[in-house]
């Protein structure tokens, strides 16, 4: 799977990091999210889906192949 992050939409809530800490992290200076892994393995699927669902900025998308 491929994860897309629309960075300018991010509001630095940190919900994605709680849902999938192996895929998402936040910048120290402003809390904006970034991807640790753009193509995480199947193990991360549930966590990434959770992040997509809870992101309060609709900034995350799961592009399945």
């Amino acid at each position: 799977m491929r994860v897309e992050l629309d960075e300018p939409k991010c509001v630095a809530s940190g919900q994605c990091v709680l849902a999938a800490p192996e895929v998402f992290d936040q910048r120290d200076e402003d809390g904006i999210a970034f991807l640790l892994d753009e193509t995480p393995g199947a193990d991360s699927l549930d966590g990434v889906r959770e992040a997509v669902a809870v992101c309060p900025a609709a900034a995350i998308r799961l592009a399945e192949r």
Partner: protein
């Protein structure tokens, strides 16, 4: 279960619909929404949309293809007008009747208004675009209500060069929500920029010239924005058999009746950890509760109590405010981290002997996460603050 209806096509309703599919529900899934648009997001309306930084398309919650993949029976631009838990059927404004096996109510809230004509409110995309088109340098804007919404709108209008007057009935804005000390810090942000924040001022009506105050005087304005709170959209549930009391009353599983759940701004549910019935108008709660309601609807025998750590954020000028927990009715507030004079800090809130919540302004994510964890763990005040 073969027929599930979700009423309200916004953050909570969409989260419920997506979760139903994700959990394997493959029956008919009807999404009813009275707005003509596919689900869109509200927080940017008082921020990037009002500031004309984003075109309106940018607020849609999902790309059309992702929505289509859910296989929804979408009824947009049609209001639900009534239901009856005994019949398990929903009535729509176009005359149709939808029988259901499961129902999720996510009809949100609408702005409270003041007597008089011609004032703006800010809840929908069209509200935001209408106000956006009026904002210009030199415009005299009166914002009634210095809550989060009023403060955000005032900040955007100020940035665009409007002359903003912010009228607030309380002595300190937001004191009931975040405490007096933090309310005062947030007030300073307005005053430092020359926004004319006046507290202890009640507005009784909107007039031709502007607004009339409780003492009979008038404040003149070219445009008026009324941001004085909201009312749950529950009128359509009259006679439904559900209990409505400032929101749809639910148990800790978000159930309002067997097979009927509520989520988002409209839901008043029993939060098991805080031990109170609460109704929260926060964006993350809408999504989380929509998910929880969907899961419990599909699997009532294994239902899980909905016990989130409430979270909200607000952007005002260059301030990013983030709060976790339940701050209302707190007994004590302490500044526990950061540097108040420099404008970045963490405030902790005590209710009883527990850390009930924390609010951060301009703090790094790791610090904020630490405080969230403490709130989630129900940490004792002694342990974390001393």
């Amino acid at each position: 279960m073969k027929r599930i209806v979700v009423v309200g096509a916004s953050a909570a309703g969409l989260a419920a619909a997506e979760t139903l599919r994700r959990e394997g529900y493959d029956g008919t899934l009807t999404l009813v929404g009275d707005e003509p648009h596919p689900p869109y997001d509200r927080p940017p309306l008082s921020k990037q949309v009002l500031a004309a930084e984003w075109p309106p398309e940018r607020v849609r919650l999902r790309p059309p293809a992702d929505l289509a993949a859910l296989g929804l029976d979408q009824r947009l631009g049609v209001a639900a007008t009534g239901m009856d838990v005994a019949d398990q059927a929903l009535r729509l404004a176009d005359g149709s009747v939808l029988p259901y096996d499961g129902l999720v109510i996510a009809t949100g809230v609408r702005p409270r208004r003041l007597p008089g004509e011609g004032a703006h409110v800010l809840r929908t995309l069209s509200d935001a675009l209408t106000l956006r088109d009026r904002l210009r340098p030199g415009l005299r804007l009166v914002v009634v209500g210095a809550g989060f919404l009023g403060a955000e709108a005032a900040a955007v209008a100020w940035k665009l060069g409007a002359r903003v007057t912010l009228l607030e009935p309380a002595p300190v804005p937001l004191a009931h929500a975040v405490g007096e000390e933090v309310g005062r810090v947030l007030s300073r942000a307005h005053l430092e920029r020359g926004v004319d924040l006046r507290t202890g001022v009640t507005v009784t009506e909107v007039t031709e010239e502007g607004v009339r105050l409780g003492d009979g005087r008038e404040v003149e304005a070219d445009e008026v924005l009324v941001a004085v709170g909201s009312l749950p959209n529950t009128e359509w549930l009259a006679g439904s058999g559900l209990t409505v009391a400032d929101g749809v009353v639910c148990d800790q599983y978000c159930a309002a009746a067997p097979g009927v759940y509520a989520a988002g701004d409209v839901a008043r549910w029993h939060h098991p950890h805080f031990g109170v019935r609460m109704r929260i108008e926060h964006r993350t709660n809408a999504a989380e509760q929509g998910m929880a309601a969907a899961r419990n609807l599909l699997n009532p025998e294994a239902a899980k109590p909905f016990a989130p750590v409430p979270y909200f954020w607000s952007d005002q000028y260059d301030l990013k405010i983030q709060a976790y927990g339940y701050l209302r009715g707190h007994d004590e507030l302490a500044f526990v981290d950061g540097d108040l004079a420099e404008g970045h800090f963490v405030a902790a809130y005590r209710t009883g002997d527990r850390l009930a919540g924390a609010l951060a302004v301009g703090m790094p994510p790791k610090t904020i996460r630490r405080w969230r964890q403490a709130v989630a763990a129900g940490a004792s005040w002694k342990e974390v603050v001393g």
